[in-house]
Structure formats: C-alpha cells, structure tokens
C-alpha cells in the first residue's frame, strides 16, 4: 500500500492524517458531553491508525518509475473487498429489520436496536457502504482502462476510498447513538456532510485528471454516467444538507429550509439519489462490464448517448412524485408525474440496449453466471423503472404510497438491479485485478447467482402481495360507509409476508457470503496466469493496435 507512494505522497499522507487527528481531538475534547465526542474519538482513531500504517510503510524503498507503465489497481482491490464487507454487514442488518417487522420483540429491549435506528443502518450501509464502494472501485478501473492512462497520482485514490469509508462509518455508528438529521438517505449530521464534500471534490478532480491523460479524443460513454453520478451527487448533497448546527461542539443541526420547501428539497435529493447514485453510476458499470464480459460492443452507441441525456434531464424533475397528495402545489406534483412517465423511454432504451447487446450471445449467458448476473440485472432495471413510472401516476400512488408496494419496488431495483449488476461487475473484475484466469470457483458463482435470484424473487413477490393487500384493506368500506378493516387487522395480514421476505433476504445474504468466500479464495489461492504476459506486451504493439482496420 504505502510502498507504492512516492516520498512526497508519503509526507502528504502524514500531514493529512495529522490534521484529521487534530480535528478528531478537538471534536472529542469540546464535544465530550455530546455524541459528537464519540465521533471525534472515531476520527482520531482512524487518523492515528493511518499515520501508523504510513510511518511503518515508509521504510520501504521509494518505487522506481517501472510502475508507471502499469495501471494502479491496489485501491481498486481494497475497494472491492470493502464493498463486499459492507454488503454482508448491511444485508445482515436488513434481514434483522425484516425479522423485526415480523417479531417486534427482536429489539431485545435495547434503545439502540429499535426499528428507527436499525433501518437507517441498513439503508446507509447498503446504499453508501456497498453501493458507494462498488462504484468508486469500478470507476477507478473503468476510468483508467477507457482512457488507457494510469491515475495521475497514488495518494488521491486512497484519500477518496478511505475518506469515503470514514464517512460511512460515522453515519452508521451515529444512528445507534441517536444522531440523525431525519432526512431519508441524508441522515448523517453536518460535520460528516462537510467531510464528504471534501472527499467528493477530490474524487471528481481525480476522475477529471485521469480523463485528461487519455489518448482518444472521445470519452467512452460509461465515463459519462460515472461523471454524472459524481457531479450530481455533489450538488444534491450540498443543497439538501444546508443546515445550521446548534453549536460547534454539538452533533445536532437544523436545516435552513422549512415546511414544504424542505420536503421538496429532500425529495428532489431523494429521488436523484436513486437516479444518480443507484442508477447512473450502475449504468456506467453496465455499459463497461457487459460489453467487455460478453466480448461484444454495445448494441447501439448512439442510443446509449441519447438515453444518457434523457436520464439526466428527466430525473431532475421527477422528485415531486414522492409528495403526491401533500401540501406541495398540485402543478408541481403533476410535473413530477409527467417526467416520471417520460423517464420510461430512456430507461427502457438502456435496458433494451443491454439485452440487444447480448442478442446472438445467449449461449454465453447460459454458460457464464457472471454475464447472467448482468443480464438479469438489465431485466430488473427495465422492470423496476416500468413499475416506478406506473407508481408515479397520482391515482396509482394513492394505492401504493405508505404500503409495502414501495418496498417491493425499492428492492426490485436494489436487489434485482443494483446488487446483481454489482456482483456481475465484481466477478468480472476480480480475476483481472488479481491476474487470474477466472474466479476460484465458477460453481460458487453459479450458487451465488441462484441464491440471489431466488432471494430477489421471494422478497419482491412477498412485498408486492403484502403491499396490495395492505392498500386494498385500507380502502375497503363496509355497506354503512365505514372502513371495513382496522389497521391492526391489516398488520396481522402482513405477518406471513414479512416472514417470507425475511427468508428471501436470508437467501440473498447467503449468496453474498458465498461471493465473499469465492473472492477471498481467488485473491489468495488460484495460480497466476498468462495475463501477466499479455500485460507486459511492449507499447509498440499497443500503439499500433489502437489503429483498427477500416479507419
């Protein structure tokens, strides 16, 4: 890790860690009466740990220039491992939450393990911990390969990756202590938010600096999606988290917006978090790993550009569909609804583009579970965007809102699309990173695939059923015009579905554990391959290869 850094980078790393240790110390000292003090200690510990690693690694010789002829993959490896670790942790919490909904006594009488605190641990851990690390790791791979350029320095990728994980840790450790600003998917408080802004700016700069080193004039489309993800998430994060702390030594802050403005800002953020965190970045993944894994160029490059701009323009306006039948002006709701319906076009264009790329290579999909992960992900992407556009229609939303139908939609997208495309990408990436012929066991990839698919189907069907039953029970009237069912009766009706969902989640989680074992074994045990020889091909051949016949 440290051995790859130049002397200057090692010093800079020490200075940064030293500054962070100082910040942590200040927070811990002045905030010792507040939960922020605990976070100060966590920051201090992380910084001291980093300093320790840097100092002990600094005795290694400074690297010569030979490594500059290779891509810089070390942070990608760590990113993949972190992503899988977060996946297992956050899915385990998610499954706990799922059992908790069926058996409320499973809080075990502790304050920190209530539904309201475990749930954001699940959502933050899975979206930001798992999804975010997977996006950062794959983006480091894609940006270097498509630009055919090594990252411009060795320090900033580590800063981005580790700094981002510090943010995730601050978030997830805050909830059990009761730290939250009560905005869904933006729960972390002001100091963690400021830290994320710093990390994110470095991330954007790193991406742009790598692209600036590219040889080709044209930037491959996957990069556009990753860049949209980085850029828009920065804007969303800053605007939605504008807040005033009650004191510098306190974790608590209040947002600067109030009332329906606050709600609209939050769901403009919330929906675009879905769009640019859970969709755009993962589409970037799909546009790179699906063609490379199947060995076929994307079906229509033009279509990928058109759908890119369609998605970026339309999503920005769709957030108000989360606030149907609220104090939000009616025309704003209608605007969101209209744009949500239009979103179906670019969404299906992307899903169709992916599937048409595979047309003619179905035998590969049959034989290769990694490619199958990506294929099924594209199908679920098409499915959940269709469902979303449908649920955004106001009268439909009057049935679906507040019910488990939303949860079904979320997890059709999250399990079926986000998680499956990520697993596919990781299985394609791991052998490349560790220079292996393939994964340690393709049978285990197969096992993971079927566990994941079964888990997704069980989860989603259970929640569709329960959501519809709930929604219909709440709007069934008796002959005398009163509600036919009490709320508790609808709750009792949910019980079997909640158990089914928790079992589905367990299947999905065990698939992820199998994946972790397989990745570990690949990294540790499988023999090295001829890939090394390929990689060390002289540059002359590389240069001539970039001129294809017919150009």
């Amino acid at each position: 890790m440290v051995a790859q850094l130049t002397q200057f980078e090692r010093r800079l790393a020490l200075i940064i860690a030293g500054l962070m240790a100082l910040c942590g110390l200040v927070l811990a000292a002045f905030g010792h009466r507040d939960p922020i003090g605990v976070h100060g200690l966590i920051i201090l510990a992380a910084a001291i740990g980093t300093m320790f690693v840097v100092i002990s690694g600094s005795f290694a010789d400074v690297p010569d220039d030979s490594h500059l002829g290779r891509y810089y993959d070390d942070p990608i490896k760590v990113g993949v491992v972190l992503a899988m670790g977060w996946a297992v942790f956050a899915m385990a919490v998610g499954d706990w939450v799922a059992w908790l909904l069926a058996y409320p006594e499973m809080t075990f009488d502790a304050a920190w393990s209530g539904f309201g605190r475990l749930r954001p641990m699940h959502t933050t851990g899975i979206i930001f911990g798992f999804g975010g690390n997977a996006l950062i790791a794959t983006s480091f791979h894609v940006m270097q390969r498509t630009s055919r350029a090594r990252m411009p320095d060795q320090l900033s990728p580590w800063f981005v990756l580790l700094g981002y994980n510090l943010f995730c840790i601050l978030a997830v450790t805050g909830y059990p202590m009761g730290i939250t600003q009560s905005k869904e998917y933006a729960e972390p408080e002001w100091y963690a938010d400021i830290w994320l802004v710093i990390v994110w700016v470095v991330y954007l700069a790193l991406y742009l600096r790598t692209l600036a080193r590219r040889q080709e004039p044209h930037i491959y489309v996957a990069n556009w999606y990753y860049l949209a993800f980085i850029l828009v998430v920065a804007v969303l994060h800053i605007v939605n988290n504008l807040a005033m702390p009650i004191a510098l030594a306190s974790a608590k802050s209040f947002p600067i917006f109030a009332g329906v403005q606050d709600a609209m800002t939050q769901w403009w953020y919330g929906h675009n978090a879905v769009a640019f965190f859970l969709t755009a970045g993962f589409l970037g993944m799909m546009y790179y790993y699906l063609p490379t894994r199947s060995g076929r160029p994307i079906f229509s490059y033009r279509l990928s550009i058109i759908s890119f701009w369609g998605i970026t323009f339309f999503y920005m306006w769709a957030g108000s569909h989360h606030l149907h039948y609220t104090a939000l002006p009616h025309w704003v709701q209608t605007l969101g609804m209209t744009f949500s319906a239009m979103l179906l076009v670019p969404s299906w264009a992307s899903a169709g583009n992916a599937l048409l790329t595979l047309n003619g290579a179905w035998h590969k999909v049959r034989d290769d579970a990694t490619l199958r992960f990506m294929m099924v992900a594209a199908v679920f992407y098409g499915l959940s965007t269709f469902e979303g556009s449908f649920m955004a229609i106001r009268p439909v939303n009057s049935l679906s809102h507040y019910t488990d139908w939303t949860v079904a939609h979320v997890h059709a997208g999250a399990l079926g699309w986000v998680a499956l495309i990520t697993f596919g990408a990781i299985y394609a990436l791991v052998p490349i990173l560790w220079k292996r012929q393939g994964m340690y066991s393709s049978a285990l990839v197969e096992v993971h695939f079927w566990l994941a698919l079964a888990g997704t189907l069980v989860y989603v069907f259970a929640m569709w059923n329960s959501g519809l039953v709930q929604g219909l029970m709440w709007r069934t009237y008796s002959a005398s015009g009163t509600l036919a069912y009490s709320f508790v009766e609808s709750l009792v009706a949910m019980h079997p579905y909640y158990i089914a969902r928790a079992v589905g989640g367990l299947l999905f989680l065990s698939g992820a554990v199998v994946g972790c074992i397989n990745i570990w074994m690949t990294a540790r045990h499988a023999p090295g391959t001829a890939q090394d020889a390929v990689r060390d091909r002289p540059l002359v051949i590389l240069a001539s290869r970039s001129l294809e016949p017919g150009e």
Binding site: Y71, R213, P297, I305, V534, L542
Partner: protein, 56 residues
C-alpha cells in the same frame, strides 16, 4: 424582482419547456450526426481489449 410563486410558475412553464426541447434536439443531432459514426463505433469497440496497460 419579486420571486413569488406566480413568477416561478410562469418561468418554469415557458423557459423550462423550451430549454428542455432545445437540449433534446441538440442531443439528437449530436448522436445522429453521420460524421460521428466512426468515432462512436471506434469507442464502442475500444473497450473490448483494454487490459494491455496504460499508454502513459
């Protein structure tokens, strides 16, 4: 200028409409421009074999 609700609605319903249409047309022209075809084809194929190592 008084930025009240009415003013924002008027702005959204006029400028908002036209700038989105203009952007859409721009994107369609860029994507379908015949001269871009070679560049796109090349980009689409370029990712298939890129583990060779960086050019710098």
């Amino acid at each position: 200028m008084d930025l009240d609700h009415e003013a924002l609605v008027a702005f959204a319903k006029s400028f908002g409409l036209f700038y989105l249409i203009a952007l859409s047309i721009g994107v369609l022209i860029y994507a379908c421009w015949p001269a871009n075809r070679r560049r796109f084809d090349r980009a689409a194929r370029s990712v298939l074999d890129d583990e060779g190592g960086p050019w710098r």
